[in-house]
Subunit: 221 residues, 2 copies
DNA sequence: CATTTTATTTAAGATTAATTTAAGGTGTAT
DNA sequence: ATACACCTTAAATTAATCTTAAATAAAATG
Protein backbone atom coordinates (compact mmCIF):
# COMPACT_ATOMS: atom_id res chain seq x y z
CA UNK A 1 0.00 0.00 0.00
CA UNK A 2 1.21 3.43 -0.95
CA UNK A 3 0.03 6.26 1.26
CA UNK A 4 0.80 9.65 -0.24
CA UNK A 5 -1.23 12.72 -1.11
CA UNK A 6 0.47 13.17 -4.46
CA UNK A 7 -1.30 11.19 -7.13
CA UNK A 8 1.66 11.67 -9.42
CA UNK A 9 4.08 10.12 -6.97
CA UNK A 10 1.79 7.18 -6.21
CA UNK A 11 1.53 6.52 -9.91
CA UNK A 12 5.29 6.35 -10.40
CA UNK A 13 5.91 4.03 -7.49
CA UNK A 14 2.97 1.88 -8.43
CA UNK A 15 4.26 1.52 -11.95
CA UNK A 16 7.66 0.34 -10.83
CA UNK A 17 6.43 -2.01 -8.14
CA UNK A 18 3.81 -3.56 -10.38
CA UNK A 19 6.56 -4.13 -12.87
CA UNK A 20 8.40 -5.98 -10.13
CA UNK A 21 5.39 -8.23 -9.68
CA UNK A 22 3.65 -6.64 -6.70
CA UNK A 23 0.03 -5.79 -6.28
CA UNK A 24 -0.51 -2.19 -5.20
CA UNK A 25 -3.23 -0.42 -3.25
CA UNK A 26 -3.22 3.37 -3.16
CA UNK A 27 -4.40 5.62 -0.36
CA UNK A 28 -4.31 9.40 -0.58
CA UNK A 29 -4.21 9.96 3.17
CA UNK A 30 -4.08 8.27 6.54
CA UNK A 31 -7.82 8.01 7.00
CA UNK A 32 -8.31 6.27 3.68
CA UNK A 33 -5.43 3.96 4.53
CA UNK A 34 -7.00 2.90 7.81
CA UNK A 35 -10.33 2.38 6.09
CA UNK A 36 -8.81 0.20 3.38
CA UNK A 37 -6.88 -1.85 5.93
CA UNK A 38 -10.09 -2.97 7.54
CA UNK A 39 -10.87 -5.17 4.57
CA UNK A 40 -7.49 -6.01 3.12
CA UNK A 41 -4.25 -7.48 4.25
CA UNK A 42 -1.05 -5.92 3.02
CA UNK A 43 2.54 -7.04 3.24
CA UNK A 44 4.20 -3.63 3.25
CA UNK A 45 3.33 0.05 3.46
CA UNK A 46 5.13 2.95 1.80
CA UNK A 47 4.22 5.99 3.81
CA UNK A 48 4.80 9.65 3.13
CA UNK A 49 5.55 11.68 6.22
CA UNK A 50 4.18 15.01 5.08
CA UNK A 51 0.53 14.79 4.27
CA UNK A 52 -2.40 17.08 5.00
CA UNK A 53 -4.65 16.13 7.95
CA UNK A 54 -2.97 13.06 9.35
CA UNK A 55 0.77 12.87 8.78
CA UNK A 56 2.80 9.71 8.38
CA UNK A 57 3.96 9.61 11.98
CA UNK A 58 0.40 9.88 13.22
CA UNK A 59 -0.77 7.14 10.93
CA UNK A 60 2.00 4.86 12.09
CA UNK A 61 1.04 5.47 15.68
CA UNK A 62 -2.60 4.87 14.88
CA UNK A 63 -1.70 1.51 13.42
CA UNK A 64 -0.41 0.45 16.81
CA UNK A 65 2.09 -2.10 17.94
CA UNK A 66 0.28 -5.09 16.57
CA UNK A 67 0.70 -4.05 12.98
CA UNK A 68 1.70 -7.04 10.92
CA UNK A 69 3.54 -5.36 8.04
CA UNK A 70 6.74 -3.32 7.68
CA UNK A 71 6.67 0.39 6.86
CA UNK A 72 8.98 2.39 4.62
CA UNK A 73 8.92 6.15 5.12
CA UNK A 74 9.08 8.70 2.36
CA UNK A 75 10.14 12.21 3.14
CA UNK A 76 10.91 15.32 1.19
CA UNK A 77 13.08 16.70 3.89
CA UNK A 78 16.39 15.00 3.78
CA UNK A 79 16.60 15.83 7.42
CA UNK A 80 18.18 13.43 9.74
CA UNK A 81 15.69 14.07 12.52
CA UNK A 82 12.89 12.73 10.37
CA UNK A 83 14.84 9.65 9.63
CA UNK A 84 15.63 9.01 13.25
CA UNK A 85 12.13 9.75 14.37
CA UNK A 86 10.64 7.51 11.73
CA UNK A 87 12.90 4.62 12.50
CA UNK A 88 12.37 5.08 16.21
CA UNK A 89 8.66 4.94 15.82
CA UNK A 90 8.95 1.52 14.31
CA UNK A 91 9.49 2.31 10.67
CA UNK A 92 11.61 -0.24 8.91
CA UNK A 93 13.33 1.91 6.32
CA UNK A 94 13.47 5.43 5.03
CA UNK A 95 13.70 6.93 1.56
CA UNK A 96 14.42 10.60 0.97
CA UNK A 97 12.82 12.51 -1.89
CA UNK A 98 13.70 12.96 -4.61
CA UNK A 99 14.35 9.29 -5.13
CA UNK A 100 15.24 6.94 -7.88
CA UNK A 101 12.26 4.59 -8.43
CA UNK A 102 14.72 1.73 -8.80
CA UNK A 103 15.92 2.46 -5.29
CA UNK A 104 12.38 2.13 -4.02
CA UNK A 105 12.04 -1.31 -5.53
CA UNK A 106 15.37 -2.36 -4.08
CA UNK A 107 14.42 -1.19 -0.62
CA UNK A 108 11.02 -2.84 -0.76
CA UNK A 109 12.71 -6.11 -1.63
CA UNK A 110 15.23 -5.71 1.17
CA UNK A 111 12.63 -4.84 3.79
CA UNK A 112 10.37 -7.69 2.78
CA UNK A 113 13.28 -10.09 3.00
CA UNK A 114 14.20 -8.81 6.43
CA UNK A 115 10.70 -8.73 7.84
CA UNK A 116 9.76 -12.14 6.62
CA UNK A 117 12.27 -13.50 9.06
CA UNK A 118 10.51 -12.12 12.12
CA UNK A 119 6.98 -12.48 10.95
CA UNK A 120 4.81 -13.39 13.84
CA UNK A 121 3.40 -16.76 13.11
CA UNK A 122 -0.17 -17.44 13.92
CA UNK A 123 -2.23 -20.37 12.79
CA UNK A 124 -5.98 -19.99 12.59
CA UNK A 125 -8.45 -22.81 12.15
CA UNK A 126 -12.05 -21.73 12.41
CA UNK A 127 -12.56 -20.08 15.77
CA UNK A 128 -9.24 -21.35 17.08
CA UNK A 129 -6.13 -19.21 16.94
CA UNK A 130 -2.70 -20.52 17.83
CA UNK A 131 0.01 -17.97 18.61
CA UNK A 132 2.99 -20.14 17.80
CA UNK A 133 5.61 -17.87 19.33
CA UNK A 134 3.75 -17.35 22.57
CA UNK A 135 2.64 -20.96 22.72
CA UNK A 136 -0.91 -19.97 23.48
CA UNK A 137 -4.17 -21.02 21.85
CA UNK A 138 -7.29 -18.89 21.86
CA UNK A 139 -10.88 -19.95 21.24
CA UNK A 140 -12.86 -16.96 20.02
CA UNK A 141 -10.17 -14.71 21.54
CA UNK A 142 -10.47 -16.37 24.92
CA UNK A 143 -7.29 -17.99 26.15
CA UNK A 144 -7.54 -21.74 26.53
CA UNK A 145 -5.97 -23.27 29.61
CA UNK A 146 -4.49 -26.39 28.14
CA UNK A 147 -2.35 -29.02 29.78
CA UNK A 148 0.84 -30.16 28.13
CA UNK A 149 -0.63 -33.13 26.32
CA UNK A 150 -3.70 -31.20 25.30
CA UNK A 151 -1.58 -28.40 23.88
CA UNK A 152 0.51 -30.82 21.88
CA UNK A 153 -2.53 -32.66 20.68
CA UNK A 154 -4.42 -29.56 19.63
CA UNK A 155 -1.48 -27.95 17.86
CA UNK A 156 -0.75 -31.20 16.09
CA UNK A 157 -4.27 -31.07 14.65
CA UNK A 158 -4.07 -27.36 13.88
CA UNK A 159 -0.88 -27.80 11.89
CA UNK A 160 -2.71 -30.06 9.48
CA UNK A 161 -6.43 -29.49 9.53
CA UNK A 162 -8.24 -31.92 7.30
CA UNK A 163 -5.68 -34.65 7.84
CA UNK A 164 -6.73 -37.86 9.53
CA UNK A 165 -4.27 -38.93 12.21
CA UNK A 166 -4.22 -42.57 13.25
CA UNK A 167 -3.74 -43.38 16.91
CA UNK A 168 -0.32 -44.72 16.10
CA UNK A 169 0.67 -41.42 14.48
CA UNK A 170 -0.72 -39.45 17.36
CA UNK A 171 1.05 -41.59 19.91
CA UNK A 172 4.37 -41.37 18.19
CA UNK A 173 4.09 -37.63 17.62
CA UNK A 174 3.13 -36.85 21.20
CA UNK A 175 5.10 -39.39 23.16
CA UNK A 176 8.17 -39.92 20.99
CA UNK A 177 7.89 -43.60 21.67
CA UNK A 178 6.89 -46.54 19.51
CA UNK A 179 3.25 -47.48 19.76
CA UNK A 180 2.37 -51.01 20.78
CA UNK A 181 -1.22 -51.51 21.69
CA UNK A 182 -4.21 -49.34 22.23
CA UNK A 183 -4.33 -48.34 25.83
CA UNK A 184 -6.94 -45.64 25.64
CA UNK A 185 -4.84 -42.80 26.98
CA UNK A 186 -5.04 -40.90 23.69
CA UNK A 187 -8.80 -41.02 23.81
CA UNK A 188 -8.85 -39.69 27.34
CA UNK A 189 -6.84 -36.69 26.23
CA UNK A 190 -9.06 -36.14 23.22
CA UNK A 191 -12.05 -36.29 25.47
CA UNK A 192 -10.56 -33.74 27.86
CA UNK A 193 -9.57 -31.52 24.98
CA UNK A 194 -13.04 -31.63 23.52
CA UNK A 195 -14.43 -30.50 26.84
CA UNK A 196 -12.37 -27.36 26.45
CA UNK A 197 -12.86 -26.52 22.78
CA UNK A 198 -16.16 -28.00 21.65
CA UNK A 199 -19.44 -26.24 22.13
CA UNK A 200 -21.12 -29.60 22.70
CA UNK A 201 -18.45 -32.14 23.59
CA UNK A 202 -20.92 -34.98 23.04
CA UNK A 203 -21.30 -33.91 19.45
CA UNK A 204 -17.85 -32.69 18.39
CA UNK A 205 -17.53 -30.38 15.42
CA UNK A 206 -13.84 -29.55 15.58
CA UNK A 207 -12.01 -32.76 16.34
CA UNK A 208 -13.92 -35.42 14.44
CA UNK A 209 -13.76 -39.14 15.06
CA UNK A 210 -13.05 -41.17 11.95
CA UNK A 211 -14.20 -44.50 13.19
CA UNK A 212 -11.82 -47.36 12.73
CA UNK A 213 -9.10 -45.01 11.48
CA UNK A 214 -8.39 -42.07 13.74
CA UNK A 215 -9.18 -38.42 14.31
CA UNK A 216 -9.23 -35.27 12.23
CA UNK A 217 -9.60 -31.54 12.73
CA UNK A 218 -12.35 -30.11 10.56
CA UNK A 219 -10.94 -27.42 8.28
CA UNK A 220 -14.05 -25.31 8.25
CA UNK A 221 -14.45 -25.02 11.97
CA UNK B 1 32.58 14.05 19.53
CA UNK B 2 35.40 12.62 17.48
CA UNK B 3 38.44 11.52 19.46
CA UNK B 4 41.39 10.74 17.21
CA UNK B 5 44.98 11.89 16.99
CA UNK B 6 44.86 12.21 13.22
CA UNK B 7 43.66 15.66 12.24
CA UNK B 8 43.08 14.43 8.69
CA UNK B 9 40.77 11.67 9.77
CA UNK B 10 38.81 13.93 12.11
CA UNK B 11 38.28 16.34 9.24
CA UNK B 12 36.84 13.69 6.93
CA UNK B 13 34.40 12.31 9.47
CA UNK B 14 33.42 15.79 10.56
CA UNK B 15 32.68 16.78 7.00
CA UNK B 16 30.37 13.88 6.41
CA UNK B 17 28.56 14.05 9.71
CA UNK B 18 28.04 17.80 9.45
CA UNK B 19 26.58 17.17 6.05
CA UNK B 20 24.16 14.77 7.68
CA UNK B 21 23.09 17.53 10.03
CA UNK B 22 25.18 16.87 13.13
CA UNK B 23 27.26 19.20 15.21
CA UNK B 24 30.78 17.95 15.78
CA UNK B 25 33.35 18.49 18.50
CA UNK B 26 36.91 17.32 17.92
CA UNK B 27 39.39 16.06 20.49
CA UNK B 28 42.90 14.97 19.62
CA UNK B 29 43.34 12.72 22.62
CA UNK B 30 41.66 11.29 25.68
CA UNK B 31 42.69 14.05 28.06
CA UNK B 32 41.29 16.74 25.82
CA UNK B 33 38.12 14.71 25.44
CA UNK B 34 37.62 14.48 29.20
CA UNK B 35 38.31 18.19 29.55
CA UNK B 36 35.76 19.09 26.87
CA UNK B 37 33.15 16.80 28.36
CA UNK B 38 33.14 18.81 31.57
CA UNK B 39 31.38 21.66 29.83
CA UNK B 40 29.46 20.02 27.05
CA UNK B 41 26.97 17.26 26.59
CA UNK B 42 27.36 15.00 23.62
CA UNK B 43 25.05 12.40 22.12
CA UNK B 44 27.69 10.08 20.70
CA UNK B 45 31.45 9.57 20.69
CA UNK B 46 33.56 8.21 17.86
CA UNK B 47 36.70 6.93 19.50
CA UNK B 48 39.98 5.81 17.99
CA UNK B 49 41.60 3.00 19.88
CA UNK B 50 45.20 3.65 19.07
CA UNK B 51 46.27 7.04 20.31
CA UNK B 52 49.39 8.32 22.07
CA UNK B 53 49.21 8.81 25.85
CA UNK B 54 45.74 7.61 26.70
CA UNK B 55 44.30 5.02 24.33
CA UNK B 56 40.66 4.47 23.52
CA UNK B 57 40.19 1.67 26.00
CA UNK B 58 41.58 3.74 28.81
CA UNK B 59 39.39 6.67 27.93
CA UNK B 60 36.34 4.47 27.88
CA UNK B 61 37.23 3.16 31.30
CA UNK B 62 37.84 6.66 32.59
CA UNK B 63 34.38 7.66 31.44
CA UNK B 64 32.93 5.05 33.74
CA UNK B 65 29.68 3.14 33.75
CA UNK B 66 27.45 6.14 34.09
CA UNK B 67 28.36 7.56 30.73
CA UNK B 68 25.23 8.75 29.01
CA UNK B 69 26.22 8.48 25.36
CA UNK B 70 27.05 5.57 23.04
CA UNK B 71 30.57 4.99 21.76
CA UNK B 72 31.70 3.81 18.34
CA UNK B 73 35.24 2.46 18.14
CA UNK B 74 37.61 3.12 15.29
CA UNK B 75 40.52 0.80 14.73
CA UNK B 76 42.99 -0.42 12.15
CA UNK B 77 41.59 -3.59 10.70
CA UNK B 78 42.61 -6.87 12.20
CA UNK B 79 44.77 -5.52 14.96
CA UNK B 80 42.40 -5.05 17.78
CA UNK B 81 39.24 -6.33 16.22
CA UNK B 82 39.14 -9.57 18.10
CA UNK B 83 40.12 -7.97 21.32
CA UNK B 84 37.23 -5.56 21.18
CA UNK B 85 34.70 -8.17 20.34
CA UNK B 86 36.08 -10.53 22.92
CA UNK B 87 36.50 -8.09 25.74
CA UNK B 88 33.13 -6.58 25.16
CA UNK B 89 34.27 -3.38 26.72
CA UNK B 90 31.01 -1.61 26.44
CA UNK B 91 31.42 0.03 23.06
CA UNK B 92 28.26 0.21 21.05
CA UNK B 93 29.72 -0.34 17.63
CA UNK B 94 32.98 -0.80 15.85
CA UNK B 95 34.32 0.50 12.56
CA UNK B 96 37.51 -0.83 11.01
CA UNK B 97 39.95 1.39 9.15
CA UNK B 98 40.09 2.08 6.31
CA UNK B 99 36.41 2.92 6.20
CA UNK B 100 33.92 4.40 3.84
CA UNK B 101 32.71 7.73 5.30
CA UNK B 102 29.18 6.81 4.27
CA UNK B 103 29.46 3.76 6.48
CA UNK B 104 30.35 5.95 9.41
CA UNK B 105 27.23 8.03 8.91
CA UNK B 106 25.10 4.91 8.63
CA UNK B 107 26.52 3.47 11.83
CA UNK B 108 26.10 6.70 13.70
CA UNK B 109 22.45 6.72 12.70
CA UNK B 110 22.00 3.12 13.69
CA UNK B 111 23.65 3.54 17.06
CA UNK B 112 21.72 6.70 17.84
CA UNK B 113 18.50 5.01 16.95
CA UNK B 114 19.29 2.09 19.15
CA UNK B 115 20.35 4.17 22.08
CA UNK B 116 17.47 6.58 21.74
CA UNK B 117 15.08 3.70 21.80
CA UNK B 118 16.59 2.58 25.05
CA UNK B 119 16.70 5.97 26.65
CA UNK B 120 13.02 6.59 26.56
CA UNK B 121 12.25 3.07 27.44
CA UNK B 122 10.48 2.03 30.49
CA UNK B 123 8.56 -1.19 30.41
CA UNK B 124 5.56 -1.56 32.65
CA UNK B 125 3.77 -4.82 33.30
CA UNK B 126 1.09 -4.56 35.93
CA UNK B 127 2.65 -3.30 39.13
CA UNK B 128 6.17 -3.89 37.83
CA UNK B 129 8.16 -1.09 36.22
CA UNK B 130 11.49 -1.68 34.53
CA UNK B 131 13.76 1.30 33.95
CA UNK B 132 15.75 -0.14 31.08
CA UNK B 133 18.45 2.50 31.08
CA UNK B 134 19.11 2.36 34.79
CA UNK B 135 18.72 -1.40 34.93
CA UNK B 136 16.34 -1.18 37.83
CA UNK B 137 12.98 -2.77 38.42
CA UNK B 138 10.36 -1.38 40.75
CA UNK B 139 7.41 -3.15 42.29
CA UNK B 140 4.75 -0.59 43.14
CA UNK B 141 7.45 2.09 43.08
CA UNK B 142 9.59 0.20 45.54
CA UNK B 143 13.00 -0.76 44.22
CA UNK B 144 13.55 -4.50 43.94
CA UNK B 145 16.92 -5.81 45.01
CA UNK B 146 17.52 -8.39 42.35
CA UNK B 147 20.53 -10.54 41.79
CA UNK B 148 22.01 -10.85 38.31
CA UNK B 149 20.12 -13.95 37.29
CA UNK B 150 16.90 -12.71 38.79
CA UNK B 151 17.21 -9.46 36.90
CA UNK B 152 17.78 -11.23 33.62
CA UNK B 153 14.96 -13.62 34.28
CA UNK B 154 12.47 -10.95 35.24
CA UNK B 155 13.33 -8.64 32.38
CA UNK B 156 13.16 -11.53 29.95
CA UNK B 157 9.59 -12.08 31.05
CA UNK B 158 8.78 -8.38 31.02
CA UNK B 159 9.96 -8.00 27.46
CA UNK B 160 7.33 -10.46 26.32
CA UNK B 161 4.48 -10.67 28.77
CA UNK B 162 1.98 -13.25 27.68
CA UNK B 163 4.57 -15.46 26.07
CA UNK B 164 5.26 -18.91 27.37
CA UNK B 165 8.98 -19.55 27.69
CA UNK B 166 10.20 -23.14 27.81
CA UNK B 167 13.02 -24.02 30.15
CA UNK B 168 15.22 -24.51 27.14
CA UNK B 169 14.50 -20.99 25.92
CA UNK B 170 15.07 -19.56 29.35
CA UNK B 171 18.32 -21.39 29.79
CA UNK B 172 19.66 -20.35 26.44
CA UNK B 173 18.59 -16.75 26.87
CA UNK B 174 20.08 -16.41 30.34
CA UNK B 175 23.15 -18.57 30.12
CA UNK B 176 24.06 -18.35 26.43
CA UNK B 177 24.76 -22.03 26.46
CA UNK B 178 23.00 -24.96 24.91
CA UNK B 179 20.55 -26.69 27.20
CA UNK B 180 21.03 -30.36 27.86
CA UNK B 181 19.03 -31.68 30.72
CA UNK B 182 16.89 -30.25 33.40
CA UNK B 183 19.04 -29.46 36.38
CA UNK B 184 16.63 -27.40 38.39
CA UNK B 185 18.68 -24.25 38.63
CA UNK B 186 16.14 -22.29 36.58
CA UNK B 187 13.42 -23.28 38.99
CA UNK B 188 15.44 -22.19 41.97
CA UNK B 189 15.86 -18.76 40.44
CA UNK B 190 12.18 -18.58 39.62
CA UNK B 191 11.38 -19.53 43.15
CA UNK B 192 13.69 -16.86 44.55
CA UNK B 193 12.31 -14.30 42.14
CA UNK B 194 8.76 -15.10 43.14
CA UNK B 195 9.67 -14.52 46.76
CA UNK B 196 10.58 -10.99 45.77
CA UNK B 197 7.76 -10.06 43.43
CA UNK B 198 4.74 -12.15 44.34
CA UNK B 199 2.32 -11.19 47.04
CA UNK B 200 1.82 -14.85 47.88
CA UNK B 201 4.74 -16.80 46.44
CA UNK B 202 2.88 -20.06 46.99
CA UNK B 203 0.18 -18.86 44.68
CA UNK B 204 1.96 -16.86 42.01
CA UNK B 205 -0.02 -14.37 39.96
CA UNK B 206 2.77 -12.75 37.98
CA UNK B 207 5.04 -15.52 36.81
CA UNK B 208 2.74 -18.40 36.02
CA UNK B 209 3.73 -22.02 35.66
CA UNK B 210 2.51 -23.65 32.50
CA UNK B 211 3.03 -27.19 33.58
CA UNK B 212 4.80 -29.41 31.14
CA UNK B 213 5.61 -26.45 28.90
CA UNK B 214 7.24 -23.61 30.76
CA UNK B 215 6.60 -20.27 32.44
CA UNK B 216 4.83 -17.09 31.46
CA UNK B 217 4.41 -13.57 32.80
CA UNK B 218 0.75 -12.67 33.08
CA UNK B 219 0.01 -9.59 30.97
CA UNK B 220 -2.63 -8.25 33.27
CA UNK B 221 -0.57 -8.28 36.39
C1' DC C 1 -32.89 -56.18 16.68
C1' DA C 2 -29.33 -58.31 19.18
C1' DT C 3 -24.61 -58.60 19.27
C1' DT C 4 -20.16 -57.12 18.73
C1' DT C 5 -16.94 -53.79 18.14
C1' DT C 6 -15.24 -49.38 18.81
C1' DA C 7 -15.23 -45.07 21.15
C1' DT C 8 -16.12 -42.16 25.31
C1' DT C 9 -16.34 -40.88 30.00
C1' DT C 10 -15.23 -41.03 34.81
C1' DA C 11 -12.56 -41.17 38.75
C1' DA C 12 -8.87 -42.93 41.54
C1' DG C 13 -4.12 -44.27 41.82
C1' DA C 14 0.40 -43.76 39.83
C1' DT C 15 3.59 -40.92 37.96
C1' DT C 16 5.91 -37.00 36.67
C1' DA C 17 6.98 -32.26 37.16
C1' DA C 18 7.62 -28.30 40.06
C1' DT C 19 8.88 -26.20 44.38
C1' DT C 20 11.34 -25.42 48.41
C1' DT C 21 15.08 -25.77 51.46
C1' DA C 22 19.62 -25.94 52.73
C1' DA C 23 24.28 -27.01 52.00
C1' DG C 24 28.28 -26.70 49.11
C1' DG C 25 30.93 -24.20 45.39
C1' DT C 26 32.57 -20.46 42.91
C1' DG C 27 34.10 -16.19 42.03
C1' DT C 28 34.76 -11.34 43.24
C1' DA C 29 36.02 -7.56 45.99
C1' DT C 30 38.40 -5.85 49.79
C1' DA D 1 44.08 -14.23 51.90
C1' DT D 2 39.51 -13.81 53.63
C1' DA D 3 34.83 -12.71 53.59
C1' DC D 4 30.86 -12.20 51.27
C1' DA D 5 27.41 -12.66 47.91
C1' DC D 6 25.66 -15.29 44.54
C1' DC D 7 24.92 -19.44 41.98
C1' DT D 8 24.37 -24.38 41.64
C1' DT D 9 23.44 -28.91 43.32
C1' DA D 10 20.98 -32.26 45.79
C1' DA D 11 17.35 -34.02 48.43
C1' DA D 12 12.82 -33.73 50.40
C1' DT D 13 8.23 -32.08 49.74
C1' DT D 14 4.19 -30.77 47.34
C1' DA D 15 1.09 -30.54 43.59
C1' DA D 16 -0.74 -31.22 39.02
C1' DT D 17 -1.09 -34.18 35.25
C1' DC D 18 -1.28 -38.57 33.15
C1' DT D 19 -2.59 -43.26 32.95
C1' DT D 20 -5.24 -47.08 34.07
C1' DA D 21 -9.22 -49.57 34.49
C1' DA D 22 -13.93 -50.10 34.62
C1' DA D 23 -18.39 -48.49 33.28
C1' DT D 24 -21.11 -46.37 29.69
C1' DA D 25 -22.37 -45.04 25.09
C1' DA D 26 -22.52 -45.20 20.17
C1' DA D 27 -21.94 -47.29 15.71
C1' DA D 28 -21.45 -51.29 12.78
C1' DT D 29 -22.56 -55.97 11.61
C1' DG D 30 -25.23 -59.94 10.58
Amino acid sequence: MIVDDSKELRKIIKLYLENAGYEIIEAENGKVAIELLKNREISLMILDIMMPQMDGFELLEALGDDRKFPVIFLSARGKVEDKIRGLNLGGDDYIAKPFDPGEVVARVLAVLRRSQRNIKKEIVVGSLRWDVEKRLVYLEDKLLELRAKEYKLLTMFMKRPGKVFTKQEIYELLWDEPYFHDDNTIMVHISNLRDKIEEDPRNPKKILTIRGIGYMMDEGC
